[in-house]
């Protein structure tokens, strides 16, 4: 007897499942469209709650190709989020490295970290806006503040978990402290660290958007809020969808970056890299 739950997912090729995925998606869209057309007594109310997919599509066309309004805002939000994420990551990783290297530092930073973890950090938004103004920097500061935590925790955890046997080997080979840190600790923590980068990027987007909602002159947060205030919900949905799409693309790029960077987790890349290094060292 085998238990029917939690059995492994069968390997079915994507070409077999894709038509079903598309079919389900199409059915959902059609249902949505029909609900909007016939499901409500009042057309204005219908467009308010669930604008028609065709209208959303037209709005996408408009803001991307015809009117091109979205680009300016999209670039602004991405700029804020990415700047914030990089600053936050630098601070978070710096703190984590300091905490792994020094016991005293680790001890005294701990209560602050717990405090930071428990406070909803995004709530500092209005203070940052009041301090740094409505422009780029208040959003970057908020994005950095919410972003720093993911890289901090992941880097710290990764650096603390060391394979003891490998450490012993490094010691017996007479590796210097820096070599042990860089080639052993950092390299083995790399997977967690890059997961931390992704966390940072995701939360930095949240931070940038919140700062824009509070007060800003440009950015996707402002654009979506404006569309909602003008009760053009199809445009608001289009704005939301563009954030999703570009966020998704960004994550895919990061995934690829990860895959190349941590080459030792993939047999094929490992083989290629070792061949390259062998050639470089003159051992062929």
């Amino acid at each position: 007897m085998s238990y029917s739950t939690s059995q492994q997912t069968k390997n079915i090729s994507i070409f077999k499942t894709l038509p079903f995925h598309l079919l389900i998606f199409a059915v959902l869209i059609v249902i949505w469209e029909l609900t909007n057309l016939y499901g409500f007594e009042d057309q204005i109310q219908a467009d308010m709650i669930a604008p028609r997919p065709t209208n959303i599509f037209l709005a996408m066309l408009d803001i991307f190709i015809i009117d091109k309004t979205v680009w300016k805002h999209l670039i602004s939000t991405f700029q804020k989020a990415l700047l914030g994420a990089s600053i936050g990551t630098a601070i978070g990783m710096g703190l984590a490295i300091a905490a792994t290297l020094s016991l005293t530092f680790r001890k005294y930073i701990k209560p602050w970290i717990i405090l930071m973890e428990a406070t909803p950090r995004i709530a500092v938004g209005p203070i940052f806006v009041a301090l740094l103004g409505f422009g780029l920097w208040s959003a970057v500061a908020l994005a950095a503040l919410v972003a720093f935590f993911g890289p901090f925790v992941n880097t710290f955890q990764g650096l603390m978990e060391v394979d003891e046997e490998a450490e012993e080997m490094f010691r017996s080979l007479g590796a210097s402290r820096f070599q042990t840190f860089w080639k052993l600790r950092f390299a083995s923590a790399m997977e967690l660290i890059s997961a931390g980068w992704k966390l940072a990027t995701a939360s930095a987007f949240g931070g940038a958007l919140v700062a824009e909602f509070i007060q800003a002159s440009e950015g996707m947060g402002v654009l979506i809020a404006q569309y909602v205030i003008m009760i053009t919900m199809d445009y608001a949905f289009a704005g939301l969808l563009s954030v999703t799409i570009f966020g998704f693309i960004l994550f895919k790029i990061m995934d690829y970056f990860d895959y190349r960077l941590i080459f030792w987790k993939n047999d094929y890349l490992l083989l290629k890299e070792s061949e390259k290094r062998r050639k470089k060292a003159g051992i062929v």
Partner: protein
Amino acid sequence: MKPLSFLISFLKYSLSFIIVLALWEAYARYGGLNELFLPRPSKIGAKLYSLFVKVEVIEQGTIYWHFYATLAQMSIGFAYGITIGTTLAVLAAFNETFRRYVAPYAVVFNVTPGIAVLPLIIAWFGFGWESKIALATLVCFFPPFINTLTGLLKKNDEAIELFQTIGATQSQYFWKQQLPNALPEIFAGLKLAITTALLGTIVAQFGSATEGVGILMQRFAFRLDMAGSFASLVTMAIMGLLVFTVAEVMDRRIVFWRDAKGLERVSRKKQQKLSANG
């Protein structure tokens, strides 16, 4: 831990806080820190005193009322979020078709920053409590979903074999192996969700609200009453610590088998119960 050593370590930790606060205060007093930017700690303390002890009425309510409103909105949103998240996860874990065709939507949903939906949510649900609850639900449903799903799908071949050999039924397998096996993950998801629910509530209050700590913070900041906004930040930190501690304690009580001490405590209790029964 002995009470004395606990006291000492507590003092040691609070010392670092006190030193930072004292430096801040001294700098504000003698170094000419612009009070418009960073109010000195004593002013924040005075504001906290007038809010909590003198029970000053601000924005149609005392701080306790705002505290309660935020906490209540958060709890309702959290309850909805975990219900939706875990239900979807259980469905996805037990039904492969569902997992294959519905779960991807949850993932796409997660890529959208939930916070970006805020204006739409305000348009749909209005300025009252509903919009805060809705945003809290939206931002917190994903961690329970993904963690419950991975937890339930985690498979221990040896355990399955054991359960098969002793002829356990499907439901026994679920209750005694699969669920306990997944609980640490589920609770990690809940802990993540409870803090994100608080965050969602506060962000929704920034959007528009008449009550809640988030709106207090915003009103104070826009009046450039920085002492007031830092005081509301401290209030939020207290709320966050409270929520986090509750989640942590629940986690340690329920998932007792995670660490050796808890396991020992519970097994001793069960032993006593067994021997008392004969």
